[in-house]
Amino acid sequence: MAQVVLKDLVKTYGSVYAAKDVSLTVNDGEFVALVGPSGCGKTTTLNLVAGLIPITSGDIVIGDRIVNDLDPKDRDIAMVFQNYALYPQKTVFQNLAFPLMMRKLPKDEIDRKVREAAKVLDITHLLERKPRELSGGQQQRVALGRALVRDPAVFLMDEPLSNLDAKLRVQMRSEIKRFHQDLNATIIYVTHDQLEAVTMADKMAVMNGGLLQQYDTPANVFANPVNMFVASFVGSPAMSLVPLELSSSNGQSALTSAEGWSLPLSERNARKVAGASSNKVVLGARHSTINLHKTQMPGTVPARVYTVEPTGDITFVQAFLAGAIVNISLPPSVVVAPDEQVWLEFDQDRIHLFDGQTEMALRAD
C-alpha cells in the first residue's frame, strides 16, 4: 500500500480543461471518493493517475516515486472500470488470471490466487462462464476480482456501482467498504453519487469543471461547504440557496428580500457578512434546520408551499421563498397543502452564508 500525491495536475483536450491544477494527497490506506457532476473530470483524473492518458503538466507520486512517465503496467495499480471492461472472449477464470499471467507468475500460483479471489467474491461457480453470460452484479464482482487478485499499491475505481440496481448497489457498497477495511487498501473511488461518497469514504474530493473544489472528510464537507457549488452538490435533498440583499439599520444587519420582508442576523452571522464583496448575499440552509409554522411568529419569513412529498416517516416539502425553492422536512404529523401560506424559521447557528458575487462561503473570522 502506498500514498498517492497529485501536484498541480493539468489535462487539456485542445482548449478544454478536463483537469485544472488538481492537487491532493491520498494517505496510505485511505479511501478517497472523487465526486462531481457528469463531465467534471473525474474519469480524466483517474486515468491520469493510472497513466492511461498523458498528463499536460503537473506531477503524480505513487508511494515514493514520481510516476509521470511510467507505463500503466509499471505503476503498481489496479483499476475497476466504469463499464467493467471484462475481456469478452475470455472466461471469468481467464479474466482473473490475465493480470497474473502478464506478470509471469507460475501456473499453479495463478490458479491458487484466482480461486482465492473468486472465493472471497463468491463467484467460484462462475469461473468457466464468459462475461456475457453474467448478470450486471456478477460482472461487477468479476471486475473487482480482477483488481483483487493482485496486491497493488493503489486501487482505482471508476463508478463501479453505477450500472447496478439500487438494492445490489447498497449491498456492493458495504462489500467494497469491508474489503477496504480488511486489506487496509489505498483506494481512489470515482462516483457522481454524493451519497455513495459520504457513506463509504474517509475523505471526499469534490470536483466541478475540472477544478478541485473541496477536499476534506465527508462530515466537514457537509458541515462547512466552501462554496455554493459544494453546498448544493453534497446532501440530499440539496441545500436550499436563497439570494437576498444585505441591509443594515441602527447597526443591526439583516437580509432583505425583494418582497419586503427582512431577516435580522445574529451577531456572529453579522460578522460573517461583513466580509461580503457586495450587498448580494445568498442564504443557505439544509432541510432539517428549517422550521415550518402555520402562523406568523417573530423571526419567521413568509413562503408558499409548492409540492408535498410524503415518504412515510418524513414529509419533504418544497416552498417558494423570495423567488427561490426551499426544501424542508417535516414530521408526518404536520399536514400542509400545495399553495398554502406558511412561515419559515431559520436556525441562525446552522445557516450558511455565501458571497453573492464570488459564490464563496462567508466566514466569521
Partner: protein, 297 residues
C-alpha cells in the same frame, strides 16, 4: 358494437386481423425470379462444359447433354498434356499471387486500421481519406505510369509487380473494414489490459486481435478474391506466359481456340471454384464485418 353488448357478461372476442400476406408472396416470387436469373448462366456454363465441342455447336441446343463427358476437365487437369500444363501453371500462379497479396495486405492493414481507429495524430483524416480515395480510380489510369515504375524497379514479368499493385486496391477496403471493427472494441478493454500489466503491444495482441479475428478473416477473403480475379494489370505487366495468372491465361486460351466453348466453360468453372468455395464457407464473417464495422446506421 360495444354499446349493444353492454349487458352481456362475456366480452366480445375480436378476431385477430392478419396482415395481408401480399408482401410475403411478392417477396417469394421476386426471389424465385432473381435466383433463376442468377443461376441460369452458371447452370449453362456447367452444362456446356459437359458437352463435346460438336454437341455444343448445335441448333437448337441440347438443353441437357445427350452424352455428358468430363473430358474437358480431364484435359485441363492433365499435367502431361500441353493444355493441362498451361492451365495448372496459371492456376498456381494465381494461387501464389493471391495468397501473397492477402498475407501482405493483412500485415499492412492491421496496424494502419488500428492507428486510424485509436490515435488522433495530425494528418490522420487526410491520410485516411487519401487511402479511401484510391478505390475511386480505375486501373487504366495507373496502367502506364505503373508499367514504367515496374520497369524501373525491374519487376516487369514478375509476380512481384502484381502483388505490389494488388496491395493498393486491397488495402483501402481492408483498412476501412478493420477500422470499423476496432472502433467497436471499447478502448477500456485495452486500458484494463495495460493496467493488468500488458504493454501496448501485448494489450493489442492478447485482447484486440482475438476480438477482431472475424474482421481479419473478412479482409483476407476480400483481398484474396480481388487478387484472384484481377485482370488488367496482369494482362499488361505479364507477357511471358509461364508467369500468367488465370484470367489472362483463359483469355489466351480463348484466342487460340476460339470455338472450343466447352473447354472454355470448363476452365471458367475451375477458375471460379476456389473463390466461390472460400466465399461460401466464410461468408458469415464477411456479412458480419459489414454489419458490425462498415455499415453502422
Amino acid at each position: 358494437m360495444t354499446s349493444e353488448t353492454v349487458n352481456s357478461a362475456e366480452p366480445v372476442r375480436v378476431a385477430r386481423r392478419r396482415g395481408i400476406d401480399g408482401w410475403r408472396w411478392a417477396g417469394r416470387i421476386f426471389l424465385t425470379l432473381l435466383v433463376g436469373f442468377t443461376i441460369m448462366p452458371m447452370f449453362w456454363m456447367v452444362i456446356t462444359s459437359l458437352k463435346t465441342g460438336f454437341a455444343a455447336m448445335q441448333y437448337p441446343p441440347q438443353w441437357w447433354p445427350a452424352s455428358p463427358t468430363l473430358d474437358n476437365y480431364w484435359r485441363l487437369l492433365d499435367p502431361n498434356g500441353s493444355v493441362g500444363r498451361d492451365f495448372l501453371r496459371y492456376f498456381w500462379n494465381s494461387m501464389f499471387v493471391s495468397v501473397a497479396t492477402t498475407v501482405l495486405a493483412v500485415l499492412v492493414a492491421v496496424p494502419a486500421a488500428y492507428a486510424f481507429s485509436r490515435f488522433r495524430f495530425p494528418g490522420r483524416n487526410f491520410l485516411f481519406f487519401a487511402i479511401l480515395l484510391r478505390n475511386m480510380f480505375p486501373a487504366v489510369v495507373f496502367l502506364v505510369p505503373l508499367f514504367i515504375l515496374m520497369r524501373v524497379l525491374g519487376l516487369v514479368n514478375t509476380h512481384g509487380s502484381l502483388i505490389l499493385t494488388y496491395l493498393t486496391f486491397g488495402l483501402p477496403l481492408a483498412i476501412w473494414l478493420l477500422k470499423g471493427f476496432y472502433d467497436n472494441i471499447p478502448i477500456q478493454l485495452e486500458q484494463a489490459a495495460r493496467i493488468d500489466g500488458a504493454t501496448r503491444f501485448q494489450a493489442f495482441f492478447h485482447i484486440v486481435m482475438p476480438l477482431s479475428t472475424p474482421g481479419i478473416i473478412a479482409t483476407s477473403i476480400y483481398s484474396f478474391i480481388g487478387a484472384w480475379n484481377e485482370y488488367i494489370y496482369a494482362y499488361t505487366f505479364l507477357t511471358r506466359h509461364d508467369q500468367m495468372t488465370l484470367p489472362v491465361g483463359i483469355q489466351r486460351f480463348f484466342s487460340e481456340n476460339a470455338t472450343d466453348w466447352p473447354g472454355l466453360m470448363a476452365a471458367t468453372f475451375l477458375m471460379s471454384v476456389p473463390v466461390v468455395v472460400l466465399f461460401l464457407v466464410l461468408q458469415k464473417y464477411f456479412v458480419r464485418a459489414l454489419t458490425e464495422g462498415a455499415v453502422k446506421h
